[in-house]
């Protein structure tokens, strides 16, 4: 459909039907018309986000597959800006008529009138489609993914291993999901980009019970780019690991509350930086005035031993994206260098509203959310100490080996739970502890991370915020926090 000159009277009769099974160049004409219509109506900026999802999850309980759940989803969102105010309208209807209806609704909400009859509608000149899906060979990913039958066999083998390796088993589960997502972004600044994401995660949940003693432990692995990921999952090692943790925590004493030095393990221990600092470096928080770091760029906000990154692309990591959900190539962003705040994470709107440069961090759960500045693969860089150095520096403290989830509030106060903890006495681990939750103020804690070891390790995670639940990576080497409040009994 090529139209040299489009007059507003022609719009009601304009139709477009995609015959392609994927988002491709054929979307250029209708989207450029819709973007032009929005601009002609008076919008300062417009963006369309189209999404198609093919998701499946599988659950094995004991020795039975109890749930296979496919989900198919298609939808789109249009974002319209007038000045710095914006409106986001989403719809399931990804036809030209459906997208036009969504646009009209958004324009109307922003108080804009459609162009008068006989008005000339200038189309937006979109760039050549930047197709990360095809360029990086992702078009073949979906058919290469593990079949339903193989999913079931692998998960059942996994729960079988749990039965062999754990003691006092009350229930054992293995769960897997595959989230295949195709996205297309077109914006009135000419952005026109497509990508395919393949996110997979598999893990165990084990509940052990002996009388009144109970221990429940979960652990997951994740991947963003390997259709064969499930087949390569080492469930034997994972089962041994989780069984060992559950065994140690089953008879653990409750932690005695107080203020302690702690050593936090690498891998998922990185959640401390994610909650205590990462969220506060998102421009969304600057806009809301809910970060203590808003005016601290170039200043020291953390101990000089701490350097931290947020990367769009890290090989096989859970938060890896080639482009963000606003069509910008993902960047590698230095957040903190030797304690000095270097950069914030900015989406398009955050950049406009705060002045910080975009970093390819505009992310969203799906088409029902407008993009916002979000973390991707975020980690504390390795330091110069050995793990033994860290332990040797603690007379009495807590080793937080396995972290649970956490959150940060509007005042910068954060908290997170510890799933597996041990008492440290005179530099040595002496006994397991349970029931610990760590709380603190972001501004204070960042200056108390005084030692980092050399063993950086990344872990998959799920992050919930204003633009929904997204896949992220957390990570760090072993770190020492000089003192932190530990809630317990």
């Amino acid at each position: 459909m090529l139209i040299d000159t489009l007059i507003s009277n022609q719009l009601p009769n304009l139709e477009y039907t995609s015959t392609s099974e994927r988002f491709d160049e054929s979307w250029e004409a209708p989207l450029s018309i819709l973007l032009g219509l929005g601009r002609a109506a008076g919008a300062d900026f417009l963006e369309f986000f189209l999404e198609r999802v093919n998701y499946i999850s599988c659950l094995a309980e004991e020795d039975t597959i109890t749930s296979i759940t496919p989900r198919l989803s298609t939808g789109a969102g249009v974002r319209v800006f007038v000045g710095k105010a914006d409106c986001y309208v989403s719809t399931n209807d990804v036809t030209f008529v459906g997208l036009k209806a969504a646009l009209e609704k958004a324009l109307s909400i922003m108080g804009l009138q459609l162009p008068a009859p006989n008005a000339f509608i200038p189309e937006i000149n979109l760039e050549l489609l930047r197709d990360y899906g095809t360029k990086r060979g992702k078009d073949s990913w979906l058919p290469l993914c593990t079949s339903i039958r193989e999913m079931g066999e692998i998960l059942l083998d996994g729960t079988g291993k749990l039965q062999k390796t754990a003691t006092h088993v009350q229930s054992r589960r293995a769960s897997y999901f595959r989230d295949w997502q195709e996205v297309l972004v077109a914006a009135s600044d000419g952005t026109f980009a497509r990508d395919i994401r393949l996110t997979q995660s598999v893990g165990f949940n084990l509940l052990c019970a002996d009388g009144s003693h109970r221990a429940s432990i979960g652990e997951r692995a994740g991947n963003t780019s390997d259709p064969n990921f499930l087949k390569t999952w080492d469930y034997t090692e994972a089962a041994e690991h989780i069984s060992d943790s559950a065994g140690k925590m089953l008879y653990a004493d409750y932690v005695e509350s107080g203020t302690y030095p702690i050593i936090m393990a690498n891998h998922f221990g990185g959640v401390i930086f994610h909650e205590a600092c990462g969220h506060l470096l998102e421009t969304t928080q600057i806009e809301r005035k809910t970060t203590p770091f808003a005016d601290k760029k170039g200043e020291k906000i953390a101990h000089e031993s701490l350097t931290a990154w947020d990367e769009g692309r890290t090989e096989n990591a859970f938060g890896t994206i080639d482009m963000d959900d606003e069509g910008m190539p993902a960047q590698r962003t230095l957040l903190i260098e030797k304690g000095i705040l270097k950069n914030f994470l900015a989406d398009r709107t955050g950049s406009w509203r705060t002045g910080h440069p975009r970093t390819g961090s505009g992310r969203r759960q799906g088409f029902t959310f407008a993009a916002a500045s979000r973390m991707r693969n975020t980690y504390i860089a390795p330091g110069e100490h050995s793990v033994d150095d860290l332990f040797a520096s603690v007379d009495k403290g807590i080793y937080c080996k396995k972290m649970g989830g956490g959150s940060v509030g509007a005042t910068g106060q954060f908290n997170f739970g510890v799933d597996e903890a041990y008492l440290i006495e005179n530099g040595k681990i002496t006994k397991p502890l349970k029931g610990a939750i760590l709380i603190g103020e972001a501004k204070e804690i960042m200056n108390k991370i005084s030692m980092c070891s050399q063993d950086l390790s990344l872990a998959p995670g799920f992050c919930g915020s204003v633009s929904g639940s997204i896949y992220t990576t957390v990570g760090q080497p072993h770190i020492k926090v000089d003192s932190i409040t530990v809630g317990g009994r």
């Binding site: 659950l59 039975t64 109890t66 749930s67 296979i68 759940t69 496919p70 989900r71 198919l72 989803s73 298609t74 939808g75 710095k84 105010a85 914006d86 409106c87 986001y88 309208v89 989403s90 719809t91 399931n92 958004a106 909400i109 922003m110 108080g111 079931g152 229930s171 509940l207 221990a215 429940s216 509350s257 107080g258 806009e287 809301r288 005035k289 809910t290 029902t368 649970g404 989830g405 956490g406 959150s407 509030g409 509007a410 005042t411 910068g412 106060q413 908290n415 997170f416 739970g417 349970k434 029931g435 610990a436 939750i437 709380i439 603190g440 103020e441 409040t485 809630g487 317990g488 009994r489």
Partner: protein, 446 residues
């Protein structure tokens, strides 16, 4: 023809084409508008009109497959049925889900109102007005970083190949306001409140403003408290948060999966103080937007869970009820594995307390207003929790805000340590509940 009737007709013709004889569909359509404001200006308006259905298909071997989709046009529905049909060959072979025996039983009539939506400009003005009032309530209130005013129209349906067809619709409006303070030499403080109603015009916006302002101001003067054991008074919202976090106690599917603190034979067991009664009551008159049927088409109802401290009932799907020789309770969500969840808790007093307690006379008690980080600090299968909270230490009616502290305990012990259930109940998003007094809970302050 209505949209639901069209879906039913399309499903029937697609099923016939695919050779599917037995299926059911649950779906909903939500039309929603929400606004946020910042410093007197609209920040973001969101609008959506979204549909989704979940289809279940039984094959000739009687195993079931499920698929969810947002494409409810004939082509999308056919693809969903076909995908579910493929998945059905991998479905469970024991305890196979089936139609609810109550999928065609009569539904309760409710008094749900359906109010028309207001123009977006009006709801923006209302929220800007709320923000302005809050900023004027105290000089320390520097912003309302989290705010939202939303109105939605919801339509739900359930149908199956045996001829069941249920529909209902209602409107909802909600507002939340969450402040942040700035004062020299003091830590920022925050507080919030939430209201829900059938429409924006009937929403108690001024009550939400007043509650948010009062709470925020009450947190300006704060102190650290010594760690130790305290008598703790849970606000209705805080107690229901905790009850919800440990809802596996009442969940028949969790019990069958060995994922619960209860066992099937615990019915009749004293699990709480005789002062406590709990039921799940979707049809409670205070439940705004009450749903009259669940995801399997079973009518919702009042289900007694704890009476005078005794466990008397569980929440069931059709499948769990069959396995446990009970009746479905209207608490199921459709799925490959049907899940069970509470609809609307109603907590109230049971046996008479030895003495009536009162915050105006009590000394050194902790009033917990809001529990945080439940996803991180609750070990629902172990029964333990350790949670940060917003609250006050109260001495003879005088409240002083508590600075960063956590409360920890074992939920089953909490239920047994209830020493008073106040008479006056409050409506919260999760149910109706009075303040609940617990003795001897661990608080970590400094």
């Amino acid at each position: 023809m209505s949209k639901i009737q069209a879906i039913a007709n399309n499903a029937k013709s697609s099923a016939e084409k695919l050779g599917i004889k037995k299926y059911d569909i649950y779906g909903s359509t939500v039309d929603q508008t929400s606004v946020q404001v910042d410093e007197g200006e609209p920040k973001q308006v969101k609008a959506s009109n979204l549909s989704g259905v979940t289809v279940r298909v039984w094959n000739e071997h009687h195993t079931v497959g499920v698929t969810s989709t947002t494409d409810v046009d004939p082509k999308g529905l056919e693809l969903a049925l076909k995908t579910a049909q493929e998945a059905s060959f991998f479905g469970v072979k024991e305890n196979i889900p089936d139609f609810s025996p109550e999928a065609t039983a009569a539904l309760a009539s409710t008094s749900s109102e359906k109010l028309p939506p207001l123009p977006v400009s009006e709801i923006i003005d209302k929220l800007i007005g709320a923000e302005k009032e809050l900023l004027a309530a105290h000089p320390a209130i520097a912003g309302v970083p989290y705010n939202n005013l939303a109105q939605r129209d919801i339509e739900r349906f359930y149908l199956n190949s045996d001829g069941a067809l249920r529909t209902e619709s209602h409107s909802l409006a909600s507002i939340y306001l969450y402040t942040k303070t700035e004062e020299a030499e003091k830590k920022p403080r925050s507080a919030g409140a939430y209201r829900v109603s059938y429409g924006v015009n009937t929403l108690d916006i001024s009550g939400c403003i007043t509650e948010t302002a009062q709470k925020t101001i009450s947190h300006l003067n704060y102190e650290k408290i010594p760690s130790g054991k305290y008598t703790v008074v849970f606000s209705p919202e805080a107690f229901l948060s905790l009850l919800g976090a440990f809802s596996n106690l009442f969940n028949a599917q969790n019990i069958l999966d060995h994922q619960s603190l209860s066992q099937a034979e615990d019915i009749g067991k004293q699990i709480a103080s005789p002062l406590l009664c709990v039921c799940d009551d979707a049809l409670h008159p205070a439940n705004i937007g009450a749903e009259t049927f669940d995801g399997e088409g079973t009518p919702t109802r009042k289900v007694s869970l704890i009476e005078n401290g005794v466990l008397v009932g569980f929440l069931h799907s059709a499948g769990t009820a069959k396995r446990m020789n009970a009746q479905p309770t209207g608490n199921a969500s459709i799925g490959a594995k049907v899940s069970v969840g509470a609809n609307f808790y109603h907590v109230y007093g049971g046996a008479a307390a030895e003495q009536e307690l009162n915050l105006q006379t009590a000394e050194n008690v902790i009033l917990i207003d809001d529990l945080q980080a439940l996803h991180a600090g609750v070990k629902s299968l172990q029964g333990s929790f350790s949670l940060p909270f917003d609250g006050w230490i109260v001495n003879k009616g005088e409240k002083v805000s508590v600075e960063s502290a956590t409360v920890a305990g074992d939920f089953l012990e909490v239920l047994k340590s209830i020493i008073y259930v106040e008479k006056e109940a409050e409506l919260t998003p999760g149910g109706v509940c009075p303040r609940i007094w617990i003795e001897g809970l661990s608080i970590t302050g400094e």
